[in-house]
């Protein structure tokens, strides 16, 4: 599909498949619109051309009601966690359950505690979001994303800005939840080592096109210099260090 924002083409005729039950990573330099891709999948944005299908449904042809039904089967983890700041951790996770089901409060309590337990934060249930550290907030958001037992979970930059321990925790959680809950996970990130360690398949996107795709091993052994620069994190290569400018001598002499 293709998608433009104003006159800028963000995605130019790209095609991706996200296999069921696996962890798929979407990686690329900052600003290539990876978050936009997640919003397109979730139906918040509409592609200019082409289609997005989930589980056999064309996401953008659904009625509002059906779209909402579909979204219940998707979980999304936002970059900042996006927890509701005026209610505590427990209520945040209980929120989608209370809204979409008519379950009894005692049942809801058990569910919430189990989800919290899966992310290791059962003891934090009474804290307010403002009292949580960044990593803890992300874990709570993860628990909320799986509250309704979705079939697919999308992670928007889950590793950004985390200390090594929290990073390890998150990495572990994403993989183990994917296995144990039989989810299809989509991880959008530019943290190479972490993402490579848990993904089954990776798409590298840059300038609106898919530059490379494959399993982590395939990419590590790729002969494409651009891929190598990205994976190894080299400062200079196909993506130049210097932003385009006239030669240095010329600039200095110009004043």
């Amino acid at each position: 599909m293709s998608f433009s924002r104003g006159s800028r083409k963000i995605f130019d005729n790209i095609s991706l498949d996200i296999p069921r039950g696996k962890v798929t990573a979407i990686m690329g330099p900052s600003g290539t619109g990876k978050t936009t891709l997640l919003k397109l999948i979730g139906g918040q944005l509409r592609p200019d051309q082409g289609s997005i299908e989930m589980d056999g449904n064309n996401v953008h042809q659904l009625t509002r009601k059906d779209l909402y039904q579909l979204r219940k089967r998707m979980g999304m983890l936002f970059q900042s966690g996006a927890l509701l700041t005026d209610i505590n951790v427990f209520d945040n996770i209980a929120y989608p359950i209370r809204e979409h089901t008519k379950l009894d409060e005692s049942l809801i309590r058990s569910l919430v505690l189990m989800k919290l337990n899966a992310v290791g934060l059962r003891g934090a249930r009474d804290l307010m979001p403002s009292e949580l550290s960044g990593g803890m907030a992300r874990r709570v958001a993860m628990a909320r994303a799986i509250a309704l037992d979705p079939v697919m979970v999308m992670y928007d930059e889950p590793f950004t800005g985390q200390d090594p321990i929290s990073m390890g925790v998150l990495v572990n959680l994403i993989r183990s939840m994917n296995q144990s809950l039989h989810l299809s996970s989509v991880v959008v990130s530019h943290d190479v080592p972490e993402t490579l360690s848990i993904s089954d398949y990776i798409y590298l996107i840059s300038d609106g096109c898919i530059v490379a795709q494959g399993s982590p091993e395939e990419l590590k052994n790729s002969s494409d210099p651009w891929v190598q620069q990205f994976i190894a994190g080299q400062p200079d290569g196909p993506v130049p260090f210097h932003f385009s400018a006239s030669p240095l001598m010329q600039d200095l002499l110009q004043e």
């Binding site: 919003k39 918040q44 979204r71 998707m74 900042s80 996006a82 509701l84 700041t85 979409h100 309704l148």
Partner: protein
Amino acid sequence: MLDQLQLTGQRVIAVFARLGQATLFLYQIIMTLPGLMLRPSLIIKQLYSTGVQTLLIIVVAGCFVGMVLALQAYYVLVDFGAEDSISQMVVLTLMRELGPVITGLLFAGRAGSALTAEIGLMKSTEQLSGMEMMAIDPMQRVMAPRILAGFLAMPLLTAVFMAVGVLGGYLVAVHGVGIFEGVYWSLAQLKVDFYSDLMNGMIKSIVFGFVIVWIAVFEGYDSVPTSEGLGQATTRTVVHGSLAVLGLDFLLTAIMFGDI
């Protein structure tokens, strides 16, 4: 020169475009109303933040405005020997104009800016997006209760303002300046018409309340999610809301009182 014209033209078109956006926004909210009725707790919570928390400033303002009105009225009327008409002037001015307008301006400043800031913050921390992805309609859960609450709170606040103002005027007139108590109340009763004065004032307040919250919620929803953007959005709410109150007041006054 031509550039200026083009710029002006663009600005005018932009204003209309914004108005269109705001109207579509309102339409979406109205569509959610039937469902909202099943969740009165949301409305009550918003009534608290917009209404109850504005009550204090309204009471204080009303009291002082009423007292000042009475004082000024006395100074003017006493030259004509007509100081008994003081209550008439205080009550009519409060009911017809000052009640709805001052309450409106205070409401736009206090409740309006708070609404915009709150919603703008929710937008910038992706809470609104998050709700959408959880298949919960933020229009119904966040926007609509606030608009309804503002709509309900304004007339109540205006009534309180008017009542406190009348009492403030009473204090000054009867206990300050020496008008007879009976004269104060009975002249007011005689000269103030329930329908054309009180009800018109209340209608004004309902219209103002609706417009102010509409602007406030829309500006919050449409704000640029940076700290600068939020500041601009709250400023716009207060400025546009206040201007709308004053402009509509003129319009409504002309319609309602023009015939007399």
